[in-house]
């Protein structure tokens, strides 16, 4: 079934990459900012998918890696540490944290795991607000102001690329195979000789790398962070929402979900012909769409038959992921 229609060659995608690299030169800076945010959400969403979709552990607190790294970077950078060193150290600290917390948390099952991680966000928000001397408390940290969308664009493009490359190759690798088998049935996997605990921790820490990179980058870009900005619970659910909307467990899902939400939001606000009450209720409509997706197409929009057909026709069939078939089966398929 994957053979129908020509597959877009790697060369094509290389051209797309070059186009993205050149984009900032030709369009209004606004689109640079727009794309930068898109890359950020794609990065966070796709990495969320590693634990949620591939491993089967929904980490509702995925965003916390973003926040810890953002703060780590801000603290170091504001004290005069260079950009590169701050970035590296911030990510390192986040990964160490992820490693430490992974062992106890990964013993939790399903819903408890999701919620315990979610609680972490709140905990760190509180810590950031309380440890004034360290984090500037609720007044946050202010870095030297600057206008850096172009550099951030390339940084985020790089990270997003890295993320999706990793996410693309995982399902094709032995690592991915191990994750899927753990997802389907942990005990059986253990019985087959897979060191389950080790793989779970690896997936968890791996998924933390990308939001950490993005978090540090974001702190540098916005130059002012307070606990609410990076540890806000309303923001925490955003990447989760995007991925679930687009499709968990699929490679294309998070990308599609992020793009879909950003574009719809853009459209709603910038079209003059829409009546004002639709704009005011845009969150309600998003909420209802989300609920509808949950009820009718829980594997996400990407797995709807017309969508998969379209992708295959356009030659992007291979991006639907090797997990597609087994995913469909295990999630009961669309509608």
């Amino acid at each position: 079934m994957f053979r129908k229609g020509a597959t877009l060659s790697n060369g094509f995608w290389l051209l797309v990459l070059i186009a993205l690299l050149l984009v900032p030169r030709f369009v209004d800076p606004y689109w640079v900012v727009f794309m930068l945010l898109l890359f950020m959400y794609v990065g966070i969403g796709s990495s969320f998918n590693i634990t949620a979709g591939y491993l089967g552990y929904v980490n509702l607190g995925h965003y916390v890696f973003f926040g810890i790294s953002a703060y780590g970077f801000a603290i170091l950078y504001s004290k005069g540490v260079s950009f590169g060193a701050s970035l590296l150290l911030a990510v390192l600290v986040t990964l160490v944290f992820a490693l430490l917390i992974s062992y106890p948390f990964l013993r939790l099952k399903g819903g408890y795991f999701a919620l315990a991680n979610f609680g972490l966000i709140k905990l760190f928000g509180l810590l950031a607000g309380t440890l004034r001397d360290f984090t500037g408390g609720t007044q946050g940290i202010s870095l030297a102001p600057g206008y850096r969308p172009y550099q951030t664009y390339y940084l985020f493009l790089g990270v997003a690329l890295l993320t999706i490359i990793v996410c693309y190759y995982i399902p094709k690798s032995k690592f991915g195979l191990a994750l899927f088998s753990i997802r389907e049935d942990e005990e059986v996997a253990e019985g087959f000789g897979i060191h389950v605990a080790g793989y779970k921790m690896a997936a968890y820490v791996l998924s933390a790398i990308f939001p950490a990179l993005l978090g540090a980058g974001y702190a540098w870009y916005s130059a002012y962070i307070v606990p609410d900005v990076v540890f806000g619970t309303d923001k925490a659910l955003l990447p989760v929402t995007m991925v679930m909307l687009g499709g968990t467990g699929t490679f294309l899902g998070p990308i599609f979900g992020a793009a879909f939400m950003l574009i719809v939001e853009e459209f709603l606000w910038t079209s003059d012909w829409l009546p004002i009450w639709i704009k005011s209720l845009h969150l309600t409509m998003l909420g209802l769409v989300l609920a509808a997706v949950g009820i009718f197409s829980p594997a996400g929009l990407v797995t709807l038959r017309p969508m998969t057909a379209f992708f295959r026709k356009v030659g992007m069939g291979r991006f639907l992921g090797a997990t597609h078939r087994s995913l469909e089966a295990s999630l009961g398929g669309p509608s």
């Binding site: 939790l108 709140k122 989760v240 679930m244 909307l245 009450w277 005011s280 909420g287 009820i295």
Partner: protein, 291 residues
């Protein structure tokens, strides 16, 4: 002697706080245990309960305690409708998919409720200016309002306990919690009981909302942070357990109040969450098993 009085004062506050937590948390815990659904929109029902109370109070000035008899049946129905419309379609799915779906659906509904409430009634906070005189017992100031609320919660808890133990529906619920297939085998109409549980849970949340709006203020966006706190109580105490919710609520209440006093108000919530994480590390399923 002064120290002892202050201690008593704090204990009273802690118990009141904990009781309020426990009430809303128990509903959440029931839903999680009986349907494997993470009801992230739980806090929204609390907000709606408080909102309805505010609206009726603003229009009529009635004693909010007397508004309870209106809130209770209303929200049992709301719970039924909510479950039938949004939850039932996903209940028949395998566990992992159910978890995913329940998160997506309940987050969606929570967002929609918040936004609509803000649109219709405005984003400002609302409160209910109902108060009761307080009295002093043995040098400790007791707030009659909070005491009455606490007594109501205790009465409710006792009622729930006997309901679960003695009535048919209650026993059916416990049977399902203990062994779902077994319950089916002996002829219990599981889907209908599940719907009923949702009615109860949503109603409990709304009642907590009534008590909440009497003590604090409500706004369209308070739902999500509250849901997180109740989730903490549920995880602490163990899902499906009434005692668990009470103990979990109490622990959090005590942690908040005492940490606030001795370490400075800054630390109250932080300590509470630390304790949660600690308990989870030691006992991943929470302190108590289900009823």
């Amino acid at each position: 002697m002064g120290q002892v009085l202050i201690l008593l004062q704090l204990v009273l506050a802690a118990v009141l706080q904990g009781g309020t937590y426990a009430l809303a948390a128990f509903g959440l815990s029931l839903i999680f245990c009986i349907a494997d659904v993470l009801n992230i929109s739980h806090g929204e029902f609390l907000m709606l309960g408080g909102l309805v109370t505010y609206l009726i109070f603003a229009a009529t000035g009635w004693n909010p305690f007397l508004i309870l008899p209106i809130v209770i049946p209303l929200f049992i129905l709301v719970g039924f409708a909510y479950q039938k419309a949004f939850i039932r379609p996903i209940l028949s799915r395998p566990p992992r998919q159910l978890l995913f779906s329940s998160i997506v659906v309940t987050v969606g509904i929570a967002t929609a409720i918040e936004d609509t409430a803000s649109f219709i009634w405005g984003p400002t906070v609302k409160g209910v200016s109902y108060s009761m005189p307080s009295f002093i017992a043995y040098g400790v100031v007791v707030s009659s309002l909070r005491l009455t609320i606490l007594l109501s919660i205790i009465a409710l808890t006792v009622f729930l306990h006997f309901y679960l133990k003695k009535t048919f529906v209650g026993k059916a619920i416990r049977a399902i919690l203990q062994n779902r297939e077994g319950a089916l085998v002996i002829g219990i109409n599981v889907p209908r009981i599940v719907t009923f549980v949702f009615g109860i849970a949503v109603c409990l949340a709304a009642m907590a909302g009534v008590f909440y709006v009497m003590q604090f203020t409500i706004g369209p966006f308070i739902g999500l942070p509250l849901t997180i706190r109740y989730i903490a109580v549920v995880m602490l105490g163990g899902s499906g357990s009434l005692i668990g919710s009470l103990v979990g609520g109490l622990i959090l209440g005590v942690a908040e109040t005492f940490a606030g006093f001795y370490l400075g108000a800054n630390w109250s919530l932080t300590v509470a969450f630390f304790i949660l994480v600690l308990v989870l590390l030691l006992k991943p399923e929470g302190l108590f098993k289900h009823v």
